[in-house]
């Protein structure tokens, strides 16, 4: 099992967000976490990535059999956890290429792989950029600075392509994207999907799932998973709205 979440309770600023969440994810799977606003789906992604604002009150998260919550965010990343941010952060003065090479080499150092010098890395980056149809002119620009919403999301998927995670958490990656950008991002994710990794799509809308087809759909409401099913559940949700699951859960 790649990831196993047992009875997880999470709070932010003393307010409980997740209240007894259970989830199992294995390699080769695509999971969709859906739910209304405030249900705790972004909290789940952030707590798995190790965001310092979230406090785990109770419960357990096992990643490849190890206690994930014991690890610092950077250790998690080097172990293969990746979160694509809903709102990617701008890092002025640091070029995309510089940043990504540092991240890549840190991971290689950790895994005993080969570190790359700027020229070698540039080749890798050019190759990976094709996955999200990104212009190499973006490599020299400061990380996310002045990028449009769609460019930022593509840049997140480019980072995912370079870092090759085992567990990719895509937090509302579809938000703010027009249909063309959505297609590019989704096709990128589909190319990165493999038997060696798992992808977790955190999303409010079913739209993204037309392009990235999930094996499992989990519906969150009030901090717990209230309904689970296959891809057809997402379609049913789209038709009936979230009130339906909320009522069904009671």
């Amino acid at each position: 099992m790649l990831l196993e979440i047992k009875d997880l309770y999470v709070a932010i600023d003393g307010k409980n967000i997740l209240k007894g969440l259970n989830l199992k994810i294995d390699k080769g799977e695509v999971h969709a976490i859906m739910g209304p606003n405030g249900s705790g789906k972004s909290t789940l992604a952030k707590v798995l990535a190790g965001h310092p604002s979230y406090e785990v009150v109770k419960g357990e998260v096992l990643y490849e059999g190890r206690d994930l919550l014991e690890l610092d965010p950077d250790e998690r990343a080097r172990e293969g956890v990746f979160m694509a941010f809903q709102y990617p952060v701008e890092v002025p003065g640091v070029s995309n290429a510089q940043f990504l090479r540092l991240a890549y080499n840190e991971k290689m150092k950790h895994s005993g792989g080969e570190e790359l010098d700027p020229l070698e890395f540039d080749d890798l980056l050019k190759e990976k950029a094709k996955i999200v149809d990104m212009d190499p002119a973006f490599f020299k620009r400061s990380v996310n600075e002045g990028f449009s919403g769609g460019e930022k999301k593509r840049n997140e998927i480019l980072q995912m392509a370079v870092l090759d995670p085992k567990l990719a958490l895509l937090d509302e990656t579809d938000s703010g994207l027009d249909i063309d950008a959505l297609r590019i991002v989704a096709e990128g994710v589909n190319q990165l999907k493999s038997e060696e990794n798992a992808i977790v799509l955190v999303t409010h809308y079913q739209r993204l799932l037309n392009y990235i087809v999930p094996d499992f759909v989990h519906v969150l409401a009030a901090g717990r998973i209230v309904k689970e099913g296959g891809k057809e559940l997402a379609i049913e949700l789209e038709e009936k709205g979230y009130d339906w699951v909320r009522t069904a859960a009671q």
């Binding site: 990535a49 890092v91 002025p92 003065g93 540092l102 991240a103 840190e106 870092l163």
Partner: protein
């Protein structure tokens, strides 16, 4: 009062020695005498002076400064190894070198495509007479008065009409012995001229010297100047520089000031417009540590309609260092259509560091576009988490963000040797390597 009397005696004999042996024309000597009298009257500024409230120069006032004579400087210059790392930022075909405030021809290589002469060869030039000691007011403060009193060692630069100077002109000020130096620069860019000027303030030794410079710049109509100042003085040195630039119609001035060195550094800079349609950038970065003190006082005067000024100053402070930023932008009554932007952002890496920032915008015309602001803070937690979430360890992530903060200013500098030297200096200062 005792301080003043002390200074008078300390500098009087040096001044007399300097002016009596000088073969300058009388009109120059007269300006120098007046300036010295003014210095004797004023003395060095004290913290009671509003403009010097946070910067105490008592250590400069108390010291018994000597000045270095021409032959002495030339002899000393021979001992300087210009191939050393610290000088690697000086690249290109030319270098105009001052040692302890004295121009040293023997280790200089004069630039081509521009008039670049020692003051003594410039006194006859109309452009010199019209501008010398007229752009920076000698009476501004004790330092400008003292510099003017000792004005002998200077370089006059004149870019000819419509002429573009290809290579950046390097002015190199090297601090070597425990002495006071008073270098001066006068740059006149004629109509339509274009040039790039770099001032390098570097140390040959970690000595406690005083570098008190005055830089005057006048740009005629449509003239362009890229002006970079890199200050990497000895960490025991006192660095005081006063600069002022006046822009003609449609002139473009792009100025970047980097302050890394000095025990105490103070930069007074000004920009003024003499005709419409001119645009100026005055940007800077100060990066200090331990017990360093750095102070930037700037003044941008919009007296003429339709001119543009941009100012971004960033500071990074570690250790017990201290920074002062005081930025005045005056938009006078007649200056309609002014576009003025000013920002000062500071990053504190230590709890013991301190910054006093005062952006000051005064507007006396309604038809203008103006913005200003100042921030003092630590690294953004969300930025830090973003980097951590990509696998960078915390030290590396913090250093990368700090480096990025500095790079926003350093990236303006296009001369590769300077950019490289500054990248390295910033990383050294952060005790960091970004190459994992």
């Amino acid at each position: 009062m005792s301080t003043k009397a002390g200074m008078q005696t300390a500098f009087s004999s040096e001044f007399e020695k300097s002016i009596s042996g000088s073969d300058q024309p009388d009109w120059v000597k007269e300006i120098r005498r007046e300036a010295f009298a003014d210095f004797v009257d004023k003395g060095f500024p004290t913290v009671r002076d509003e403009e010097w409230k946070y910067t105490n120069v008592a250590a400069i006032a108390k010291a018994d400064w000597k000045t270095v004579a021409g032959e002495e400087a030339e002899r000393a210059a021979a001992s300087i190894d210009l191939s050393r790392e610290i000088f690697s930022e000086i690249d290109g075909s030319n270098r105009i070198v001052f040692v302890d405030g004295v121009f040293c021809e023997s280790i200089s290589a004069m630039p081509e495509g521009i008039t670049a002469v020692h003051f003594k060869e410039a006194y006859g030039e109309a452009a010199f007479r019209e501008n010398f000691a007229k752009i920076v007011d000698p009476r501004k403060n004790g330092f400008t008065a003292l510099n003017t009193a000792f004005a002998g060692e200077g370089i006059f630069l004149r870019a000819e009409k419509n002429r573009k100077t290809e290579d950046a002109i390097n002015l190199v000020f090297i601090g070597l012995s425990e002495s006071a130096g008073f270098p001066r620069v006068l740059y006149v860019g004629e109509t339509g001229s274009e040039a790039e000027l770099v001032e390098h303030y570097l140390r040959a030794e970690e000595t406690a010297y005083l570098s008190n410079a005055v830089v005057e710049v006048r740009l005629a109509d449509q003239a362009r100047l890229v002006h970079t100042r890199v200050q990497r003085e000895s960490n025991s040195a006192f660095h005081i520089v006063t600069s002022q630039t006046e822009l003609g119609r449609g002139a473009v001035y792009d100025n970047t000031n980097i302050h890394l060195g000095g025990k105490l550094s103070r930069h007074d800079l000004g920009m003024g417009f003499s005709a419409e349609g001119a645009e100026g950038w005055i940007d800077g970065l100060y990066l200090v540590d331990e017990d360093q003190h750095t102070d930037t006082h700037s003044r941008i005067d919009h007296r003429i309609p339709n001119c543009v000024s941009h100012q971004t100053y960033k500071g990074i402070l570690d250790g017990k260092s201290r920074a002062v930023f005081n930025g005045k932008v005056f938009v006078h009554e007649k200056a309609r259509g002014t576009d003025a932007y000013q920002q000062n952002k500071n990053l504190l890496l230590s709890n013991d560091a301190r910054v006093d920032t005062k952006p000051q915008l005064e507007i006396f015309n309604d038809d203008v576009k103006c913005a200003h602001g100042a921030t003092v803070g630590q690294l953004e937690e969300e930025e830090l988490f973003y980097l951590l979430s990509r696998g960078l360890n915390e030290d590396l992530a913090r250093n990368l963000l700090t480096y990025g903060f500095a790079e926003e200013v350093i990236n303006k500098i296009k001369v590769p040797s300077i950019k490289k030297a500054l990248d390295e200096a910033v990383l050294n200062r952060l005790h960091a390597r970004l190459d994992a």
